[in-house]
Amino acid sequence: MFGYWDALYFVYVFGIGLLISYVIYKWAERTSTGTRRTGDGTKIFLSGEDQDRVIPQFEHFRGYVTGRHVMWGLIRGINRMFIAFRREHTGLLSDYVSYLLVTTAIIVGALIVWG
């Protein structure tokens, strides 16, 4: 056909990438004079959140870096679209029926005009 793909190439590239990252990791550990073993270097930062930081009165949220905390930038950025989509999904049976009628009417009309 037009293009060419081979899944095995991606396996090779993935393996080479793993190897390179392992080498970089080892190199960083050797040159870091031990800061990656103790202290702040061992922490993981997800979405810029320090998982050991305790916020007063929000102790029960401590350290939960879960699905709620990722992709908040995307969700905040196009929040208006999501609000519009959620508003359309009303849960009323008559709305579902009217969407079905409108869809069918559009298809029938388009087919009559250009069919």
Partner: protein
């Protein structure tokens, strides 16, 4: 000129769709589904009806065909309608069962009260 059966059939379907859109009682919605089905059955049956040489057609029963000496309606739409009626009964009974269960859970037959799933 459009035969009057076709007009009646499409009128029935429109009535059913109107009820599905604007009625809120679940039992009326079940009836609306049945009315739409009836309209389609009427349309299907009327396709099989034909008048040959001025004779009124009879039911398609083959045993007495020589003695009756009249045209028969097409048998296929009747078979299809019977099948479709059976399917319609199945849908109706399931809809009634769901309606009973909905009344148990929501304490109401108003379909607009059934909107906890959204968003």
């Amino acid at each position: 000129m459009i035969p009057f059966q076709f007009i009646t059939a499409f009128l029935l379907m429109t009535m059913g769709i109107y009820a599905l859109l604007y009625k809120r009682n679940l039992i009326k919605l079940v009836l609306a589904l049945d009315i739409i089905d009836s309209g389609i059955h009427l349309l299907l049956i009327s396709f099989g009806y034909r008048i040959e040489a001025g004779q009124i057609p009879t039911a398609p029963i083959y045993t007495g065909y020589e003695t009756v000496k009249s045209a028969m309606v097409a048998p296929l739409p009747q078979a299809l309608t019977l099948t479709s009626i059976v399917i319609g009964v199945c849908v109706l009974s399931l809809a009634m069962a769901l309606t009973i269960n909905a009344y148990r859970h929501y304490g109401s037959l108003d379909v607009n009260k059934l909107r906890r799933l959204r968003g």
